[in-house]
């Protein structure tokens, strides 16, 4: 006897079992954000210890050299030398305790660790405060200039409607309405840029106005305004300031060796002491400085290689002596660079990225509170991701955008206007070989499948299929008659034959058109920063975790708040394969990380040793000179 099992269609629950209100979602995300801030502080501390251990000796070296030089001119009191000797002894005790577990008096230990860690820490804190002040002064203007943002056009109905929607959302949030600026970019995206809610600006891409309906526009703008209200602007600035501090530290340490680092430092100083923070040039300067600094915290071609270029023609005795004398500093320099890169890429960067992602989720939940309509935001996110959000010039402000602005700027959905899309679709259907079935109705969604079909036909034509070639010929003819300007976007059938025979020029033409017709991004959980970046991705390259959450995760959370998006269920087979692969590779990865940490530790300690020996040597020289 079979029990009556109701069919799944009748028993579908009215709402997902883990339904949560947006208030609860906000509370959850706020708590998560606090936790992640603590993680960030911890990461900064963890990153700070090896940094302090490497920078402090350099600072002491500089101090000692300065003291010695001053001593030559006017002798310093002996008390000074006694105190510094005592401090050095404390430092050695602390080191001994750390490495060889030699017992030590706690008070001596505290003083010793202070001696070892304080100077580097104080310098980093000082630099961080300085960079964040400087940046706050000119960062906003600079970003707007780099994006080429413009005022809204008073005669355009859509742009007026945009201003209305912004006002409505600001009223819903109880905030002063931010100023709206427009960008004419191929992608559709929106960002909130500013240093405080009073002076915030909303940068909206013109394509977004064309693509989204009113509800979706409301959802996207509500997200930006909600993030302004939640105080994300200050956090965004701090994120950039952190990476800038790493960049400045690197430039400082590199400056004896690299002219580029010296130039960067000079630019920063000049900007810091410039007369007024206002003005276009100052803003451009701030943006350039921010760009350079956030890019420079990566491990790329050094000034050091340049410095030690032994294959250079002018190899003189003086250079060799200089190289020999400065070797410990070079070593320390390399140790600092390596630990800076590793910790910022693998520890601090991901913590900051995860924190920023949680703020994005919080802004999503707040947007639902403002519009009371999760569907609008879900639809907007889907449409924006399909269309592509490429905004050239985003630079360091990339994390402020709704979706990642560093996609492939050349996707076909971006390059064709809606009218052109219609013409192309009509021509494509007209060129199809006559079949018995009726012509399907063309909607905007079908354009994507038509693109896929077209790409397949091109591939077939390239390999010699006569039918495909004939179709392309017909397509080109109909396009030329409908819209001659579009004809250049279709490949010439003769090129296919020529390229097959080996004609290089034809091959180049076909490659260009193939890139032109690249399929738009799919809604996968692939992090956006892995896409082909046509421009330097600035801040997204500073951590292996991207700053923007994936579309799927955001839609899942919006579903819990009431949206009804069809999400493809996780492919369980792929999950099993992925888990197995990661289990296999995990030990190797851990081993590699452990070895890297060991290497960093060894380098730090040997740099300490080198510096100590070197300093003692030079100090003795000075003492010798002073006594005669």
């Amino acid at each position: 006897m079979s029990t009556f099992a109701p069919s799944s269609t009748l028993e579908r629950p009215a709402s997902p079992p883990d339904r949560e209100s947006f208030f609860d979602a906000q509370r959850r995300n706020r708590r998560a954000a606090w936790r992640l801030s603590a993680v960030c502080v911890l990461s900064a501390a963890v990153m700070g210890i090896p940094l302090a251990l490497t920078i402090t000796p350099l600072l002491y070296a500089v101090g000692l050299l300065a003291a010695d030089l001053i001593n030559l001119v006017s002798p310093l009191p002996p008390a000074f030398w006694q105190q510094s000797e005592k401090a050095a002894r404390f430092g050695f005790v602390a080191l001994g305790w750390l490495l060889q577990h030699k017992p030590a008096d706690p008070r001596v230990l505290v003083i010793g660790s202070a001696v070892l860690l304080l100077p580097g820490t104080i310098l980093s804190l000082f630099l961080w405060l300085g960079m964040s002040t400087l940046f706050r002064r000119g960062g906003v203007g600079g970003a707007l200039l780099a994006l080429k943002a413009r005022e809204p056009n008073q005669n355009d109905l859509k742009e007026l409607r945009l201003a209305d929607v912004v006002q409505e959302m600001a009223i819903a949030a109880g905030l002063p309405a931010p100023r709206v600026m427009l960008v004419d970019a191929p992608g559709a995206n929106v960002a909130a840029i500013g240093s405080s809610p009073a002076d915030a600006r909303l940068v909206v891409s013109r394509r977004m106005l064309d693509e989204l309906s009113r509800d979706e526009l409301e959802g996207a703008l509500a997200h930006s305004i909600a993030s302004i209200g939640n105080g994300d602007l200050r956090i965004a600035f701090q994120v950039v300031a952190i990476f800038e501090t790493c960049g400045v530290l690197l430039a400082l340490v590199n400056s004896p060796f690299g002219s580029q680092s010296r130039r960067t430092l000079w630019r920063i100083l000049r900007y810091a002491f410039a007369n007024s923070g206002a003005g276009q040039d100052a803003a451009k300067e701030a943006d350039a400085v921010a760009g350079i600094l956030t890019r420079s915290a990566t491990l790329d071609a050094d000034d050091i290689d340049h410095f030690f270029d032994t294959t250079a023609e002018k190899k003189s005795m003086l250079r060799s002596i200089r190289n020999f004398l400065l070797f410990p500093i070079v070593f320390t320099n390399f140790a600092i660079k390596l630990s800076l890169w590793f910790f910022s890429f693998a520890v601090l960067g991901p913590s900051v990225a995860l924190l920023w992602r949680t703020r994005q989720y919080l802004a999503d939940a707040s947007a639902v509170q403002l519009t009371r309509n999760p569907e609008g935001l879900a639809d907007a996110l889907q449409k924006l991701t399909d269309h592509g959000g490429a905004i050239p010039g985003s630079g360091w402000a990339a994390h402020l955008f709704l979706i990642s602005p560093t996609g492939n700027a050349g996707t076909a959905a971006n390059t064709f206007t809606p009218q052109q899309t219609e013409v192309l679709a009509k021509a494509w259907l007209a060129s199809a070989p006559q079949t018995a079935t009726a012509m399907p109705n063309t909607g905007p969604a079908d354009f994507q499948s038509m693109l896929k079909e077209a790409a397949a036909t091109y591939r077939a034509a390239f390999s010699g299929d006569a039918q495909a070639t004939a179709r392309i010929r017909a397509l080109k003819q109909s396009i030329s008659s409908l819209d001659p300007s579009l004809a250049a976007a279709i490949p010439d059938p003769a090129d296919f034959a020529a390229a097959r025979k080996g004609d290089a020029a034809a091959m180049v033409r076909l490659q260009a058109l193939r890139r032109h017709l690249a399929l738009p991004a799919q809604t996968s959980s692939r992090p956006q920063s892995q896409g082909d970046a046509d421009q330097s991705s600035g801040i997204s390259s500073l951590s292996f975790v991207s700053f923007h959450p994936s579309l799927k995760r955001r839609l899942k959370r919006l579903n819990r708040m009431g949206a009804h998006r069809n999400l493809e269920p996780a492919d369980s087979k792929m999950w099993i394969v992925a888990t197995v692969i990661s289990l296999i590779f995990a030990p190797f990865l851990l081993l590699a990380v452990g070895l890297l940490l060991l290497l960093i530790g060894v380098m730090i300690l040997s740099s300490l040793a080198f510096l100590t020996v070197w300093l003692a040597f030079i100090h003795q020289i000075f003492v010798f000179v002073a006594h005669h």
Binding site: A172, Q369, R372
Partner: protein, 186 residues
Amino acid sequence: MQISPELIGIAAVVAVLLWLVAAFNKLVVQRTRVKNAWAEIDVQLKRRHDLIPNLVEAARGYMQHERSTLEAVTQARTQALAAGNNLQARIGAESLLTAALGKFFAVAENYPQLRAVESVQLLQEQLTSTENRIAYARQFYNDEVMNYNAAQSTFPRNLFAGLFGFSPSTMFAAADADRANVQVKV
């Protein structure tokens, strides 16, 4: 320094006093936000009042056969202005104005040449936006009222809230507007 019981007692009293001050200030801030939110609704309602005469003038030339609809809109507006500070009458009059405007736009659908007139298009967009703004202002007001009511009625604040004159505010419920039966005098 010896830690005597008196010292602990004094410290505890000081701590409680400090908490009392902080809680009182928070309630004051929230009540002010509620008042602010109500004022915002007022601003948007006034904006609607100011936009209507222009719309009626612009549409009058094209909608000669719809005099009753236009008159209803103008009358509702006059009544809303006359309602003044009487809360019940105000809510009722404003909702009637919303209904009259809705009817006007429904009738305007039958006049396609009206849609082509640019001034009417702009005014329609502005009125739609104003309706949205009123709705969002009400939503924000309700959210603030919710926060304030929750703050002044949860333990331990409810102990002294009544003492200092913090009473719960009323939300702007749509049902009240429908219940109030104010007649439009034609």
